[in-house]
Symmetry: C2
Subunit: 449 residues, 2 copies
């Protein structure tokens, strides 16, 4: 390759960025994909890491490995910090170097999204969200730790708040997390504690909207809600969460004491809009043109959760399917342009359908006019998720784990990693002020009957 | 159970503590097992987590799950901080409470070991050891990050130190890590980088002794050394490491520049000796009597790496087999005593044999007069390790991963977790002082040919 070969920089190795890179496989260009992580993560199964069924390694693969046969592509680990659109370079920091410049002739921004706390950023501290592997491991640690703390706690009044889990947001992530938690306490954990009854755990799923899984049809939404209730999940609709603090949440004036609040609502895009100083929608996503480029910059494209595009008068949803199709489209468009061929027609999203799983052996599925709920939909869900898991070895490993968990209730990865390195959430004042106290209440073993 | 039932506290859920708990399955007692982690880890395979073959979840299982059917046993997550041997209680901290007291009638200490830097504790910062899952993940991060940094680095003089890995200590851990690293660079990584050649990585295995795997026969030791050399591992024997710092190591006056030094030598026992104020051997292990109790305290037992016991004039080694047999012995002894039966004869270790794996498809095995090296020994190694992996589901999952890695070279868990949260090891001063510099040397992409 000579210096004259155009360079393409792709920022982000999620669904959008990976699809763009793959579509540029045979393009006459030098491609650089930069991501802050060395792995691509299969986000639709992230909740299964957070609920201890799967290991992080089972839903992710090194980006480098996925693109290893694509010799025109270099993969870099680094964090993009800004752009210079007039001089055409991306600024990035890596572990040992800062302010590295990546020159581009074409730029694809596929930087994904984080959660939005709707202006209440102070909630973040008490209610972590679920977007990356780090989040999933942190939530898993918190959930498992709550049971451990309850088992070590003799004051039954504290068991209640330790064993209350609140999920804020009843979209697919909230529903899938709530049902997986319900399954965790009622099956996997049920016989393993001596002082607490894990099945007494309270799982609350709250949403400001009128129904769960509001993007699905009313019938499916009702079916999912019924199923959640049969699993023991408490659904609270119609009221936004007013407050989240270290003791729990406040919903419609009512306080729910909980040591584990998980944020499954709201999506905020990455700072790409700010880097570009481009027009954004109300949620901060970059307004793109029908070919996914931005106005005045035919060489800059935005794909996936970072982009805002209307189709048939409605904004496209921030889901994996949209990101993949947009990434592929941009890759193809750039290749055509490099080869001097005519560009493809404007981007159009083809909705293959949506699904959400609600506990063991139950899912809802909506595709065009087809609506399904129950076991068959769940089989479809499992099949499609296995097919989309990029690597053959992951497919086998996840399939086996699912079969095992389905049959035995045993989970694949119930570890509290770095249990001792965590900041204590709260310290019981009496114990802290009197570390060698011998009050009977602290005699964990002797106090047992 | 009534208050009169005696209470047994087991500190540590490793091989020794778990074996003791299991042996007390039917004892008329209230047993409490406390560990700082919620999981039992299968240490012999830890190096496979450190070299990205297996996930942490594949070599560990929740202690709670292993003991879930054992209704006389409570499992607690907490860190033991001290003992009161006159009033018979253990002091422990948990995440939210400190100074909790656990009363015991019988106490079993099986708290394992950490690495010893032979008085050079300042080495620890630059040369992490491998004892727990956290260590294994940290080493995995460091190793993978070194390749990422090298790929992002255009100055070839820095490639050399980034791609040099030094292992200090040529016992089983050092040999297994070195050969697994050699296999990682020569197979898994070889085609995935564009600027560096991973197969050019230099792997140095250093030991102060005269041969690798000194606990094996001379013939097996030579076979292992030959095999290591054929894998490209550089062996340096006969000189202790004089210095470890951020730039590498100093051995016999020669400096080896390396960004990744791993400590695989030296074992230091847990602070149990201090808690007990008991007699210890030169390595700090608690001297136990022939029934594994300590002098003057027939109710306190020490098992595994924390205990020091001679057999036939030689100290027992700190290996999993010894810990398991000692744990089982102590459990049985206490049960007999509770049932008013005669105690078992003094503890005697039965050595079933030892093995070490040296890369793909090669191991050495020594059992009594039997000595084996090569593929058959490796099959034996794989079989025995699978059998001893406590859980059925782990066995299946590890077996499949090994088969997959054997056939394709692809690893199961090549993730750099929290890549951005790590403290930068070093900052190139020019880049740091000039974060928006546009010096050609920093133009990662433009500078490529």
């Amino acid at each position: 390759m000579s210096e004259l070969v155009p360079s393409i920089v792709i920022v982000g190795g999620g669904f959008g960025g990976s699809a763009a890179a793959t579509a540029l496989r045979k393009a006459p260009a030098r491609i650089t994909l930069i991501d802050r992580n060395n792995y691509h993560v299969f986000q639709p199964l992230l909740y299964q890491v957070a609920t201890a069924t799967l290991s992080p390694g089972q839903i992710s693969a090194p980006i480098r490995e996925l693109l290893r046969r694509q010799v025109n592509t270099t993969v870099l680990l680094g964090e993009v910090t800004g752009l210079n659109t007039s001089e055409h370079f991306v600024l990035a920091d890596s572990r040992d170097r800062q302010g590295v410049q990546l020159h581009y002739d074409y730029l694809i921004l596929a930087t994904g999204a984080r959660h939005s706390y709707f202006g209440h950023d102070d909630f973040a501290k008490f209610a972590p969200g679920l977007k990356g592997l780090g989040d999933a491991e942190a939530i898993r640690n918190n959930v498992l730790q709550a049971f451990e703390q309850a088992e070590a706690e003799e004051d039954p009044s504290r068991h209640r708040e330790l064993l209350t889990f609140v999920l804020v947001g009843a979209g697919p992530t909230g529903v899938e997390m709530a049902s997986a938690l319900a399954y965790l306490v009622r099956n996997t954990l049920r016989s393993e504690y001596r002082r607490i009854d894990p099945t007494s755990a309270r799982i609350v799923l709250a949403d400001a909207g009128k129904r769960v899984l509001a993007t699905f049809s009313e019938g499916l939404s009702t079916a999912a809600a019924k199923r959640l209730e049969s699993l023991g999940v408490e659904i609270r609709l119609g009221h936004a969460v007013e407050r989240v603090d270290e003791d729990g949440v406040l919903i419609a004036g009512e306080r729910i004491n909980s040591k584990t609040v998980i944020w499954t609502a709201g999506v905020a895009p990455s700072p790409a809009g700010k880097w570009l100083a481009a027009e954004t929608d109300h949620a901060g996503r970059v307004r793109v043109q029908s070919d996914l480029s931005i106005p005045l910059h035919p060489e800059i494209f935005v794909a996936g959760d970072t982009a805002s595009l209307d189709q048939d008068g409605k904004p496209l949803p921030g889901v994996a399917q949209v990101a993949m199709q947009q990434g592929r489209y941009v890759g193809k468009l750039i290749r055509q342009r490099l080869l001097g061929k005519s560009p493809p027609p404007p981007f159009r999203y083809f909705d293959k359908g949506n699904m959400a799983v609600v506990g063991k052996g139950f899912a809802i599925l909506q595709s065009g006019r087809l609506e399904l709920s129950g076991f068959v939909a769940w089989l479809g869900w499992a099949l499609i998720h296995l097919l989309y898991l990029g690597k053959q070895s992951l497919r086998m490993s996840v399939l086996l784990q699912w079969m095992w968990t389905f049959l035995t209730g045993s989970r694949g990865s119930r570890l509290i990693l770095n249990a001792n390195e965590q900041t204590p959430v709260q310290t019981t004042s009496s114990a802290a002020s009197n570390p060698v106290s011998s009050s009977p209440a602290q005699q964990l073993v002797a106090a047992e009957k």
